[in-house]
């Protein structure tokens, strides 16, 4: 049973008609049941590892692809730039979940059989690519025209100018917005659960269905906090670290 079938069912709530807890003991037994937690901890850890691996892949491919597109855009080939702008706008306007569902349910009709991991990876990378391109491009255009001209006139080639003069300045400007955006998009790994990717949320919710106890959900929530809270705090630090430059 996929994640989607489990919750996108209007009779879902009927199963809870008689579950009303009154005392704290019952509450703790329901939400922090150590026996249930111990049983499903290995599953949650599996999900955690998969989420970390997927998130790392998305960050690397998404940012690399975004940087590549921004560099290509700086070449100034008109038709190519229109295409890049269209692709970037498309993936900024579409909700990531729509991209995932479209690829997952659309590709089989085109003759491909995608798996959940590849689909989630590709979708989130495309979305991150679009946002990263936009941010890198804004950084590149923020470097004054005169710097390009000065570098080129000292005999540097186009690529040398881009690589040693423009990008170092541009990337410094882009770090705070890029960090925030990257964190927001990596959290989207949870969306993979909708198409059956066995990451944290998916593991937790199937454990919950099997044990009829929400304790695995608490474990899953803790796993997400362990993963993302340090990243959010790091992001906050990076923001203040680069803010005095303003």
């Amino acid at each position: 049973m996929t994640f989607w079938d489990r919750f996108a069912d209007t009779t879902f709530w009927d199963r809870f008609a008689n579950t009303t807890s009154t005392s704290w003991d019952r509450f703790a037994d329901t939400f922090l049941n150590t026996a249930v937690m111990a049983k499903y901890l290995p599953d949650i850890i599996d999900g955690f590892c998969l989420t970390v691996w997927l998130a790392a892949l998305v960050v690397v491919t998404g940012i690399a692809a975004g940087l590549l597109l921004a560099v290509v855009r700086s070449l100034g080939v008109r038709p190519l730039n229109w295409l890049i702008i269209f692709i970037v706008d498309l993936f900024r306007a579409l909700p990531p979940l729509v991209v995932i569902v479209l690829l997952y349910f659309g590709l089989p009709s085109a003759g491909f059989l995608p798996n959940a991991f590849a689909t989630t990876w590709a979708s989130l990378s495309l979305v991150l690519m679009a946002f990263a391109e936009e941010i890198f491009w804004a950084g590149i255009t923020a470097v004054p025209r005169g710097q390009w001209e000065a570098s080129r006139s000292t005999g540097l080639t186009f690529w040398q100018t881009l690589n040693s003069v423009v990008l170092p300045q541009a990337i410094r400007l882009t770090i705070p917005p890029l960090t925030n955006r990257t964190i927001a998009i990596t959290k989207g790994t949870a969306l993979g659960s909708v198409i059956g990717l066995s990451e944290i949320l998916s593991q937790a919710s199937s454990a919950m269905s099997l044990s009829f106890n929400p304790s695995p959900l608490m474990l899953g929530a803790a796993a997400y906090l362990i993963l993302f809270l340090p990243v959010v705090v790091l992001g906050r630090w990076i923001e203040t670290r680069f803010a005095w430059h303003r």
Partner: protein
């Protein structure tokens, strides 16, 4: 190929339910955006209080909900609350989840905005006899909002896009309706159509944003 992805017959047949989905998405956005803005404004105004007993819980609150993926929060509410004896329905869960999640984001943005307004403005307004609340409402907040307008628009765009996760808890918005139509017709056309609807609806906002953001990054130097 065209028959598979752009089947006009299916689009015509599915159009009424997609339109209903669009209406629900719009309604949902009109509910959760103001909810988030109000929650965010409360957080931002509270964060001007420098007392550590206010400051640190507030930072913890904001970081907590920024670290929690929205879908996880939604499932947590939807599947966890019944065990606590609370049945507030899919709509209630979505409203609470979005309030918590987007409120934290709006709060962070508005806080940055308030901090960008020079302290002299606050002092001048207070010395003319305006109360603390009046100063905040009529002097500081309007300037704060103007200073962080690109971020506010960008976050609102993200919130509207995020309403698509409500499909997971069977709220009949655009994506949910498309999935229903797709599973009846065994054809991905409805999903393609919904992607088109999202794109047409949000493209103008994306265009506006890339102008505003380019200006903002260029201005940071």
């Amino acid at each position: 190929m065209i028959d598979t992805f752009f089947n006009t017959g299916i689009i015509v047949a599915a159009w009424p339910i997609l339109l209903q989905g669009l209406l629900t998405t719009v309604e949902l956005s009109l509910l959760v955006v103001p909810l988030g803005v109000v929650g965010g404004a409360a957080i931002a105004v509270l964060s001007t209080v420098r007392h550590p007993w206010v400051r640190w819980p507030l930072i913890a609150w904001v970081d907590f909900f920024r670290a929690f993926p929205p879908l996880v929060l939604l499932i947590f509410l939807y599947a966890g609350l019944p065990f606590a004896g609370l049945q507030i329905g899919a709509f209630g869960c979505v409203a609470i989840g979005f309030f918590l999640n987007t409120g934290a984001y709006y709060g962070e943005i508005l806080r940055a905005g308030i901090e960008s307004v020079p302290a002299g403005q606050n002092e001048a307004a207070r010395s003319t006899g305006l109360s603390r609340l009046q100063t905040m409402a009529f002097v500081v907040l309007p300037q704060a909002v103007r200073n962080v307008l690109p971020d506010l628009v960008s976050n609102t765009l993200e919130v509207v896009k995020l309403t698509s996760i409500a499909s997971v808890v069977a709220l009949p918005e655009l994506l949910y309706q498309a999935r229903q139509a797709q599973s009846v017709t065994y054809n991905p056309t409805p999903i393609v159509a919904v992607a088109f609807i999202y794109f047409l609806l949000l493209w103008p906002v994306v265009r506006l944003l890339s102008r505003l953001e380019n200006r903002a990054i260029a201005g940071r130097r």
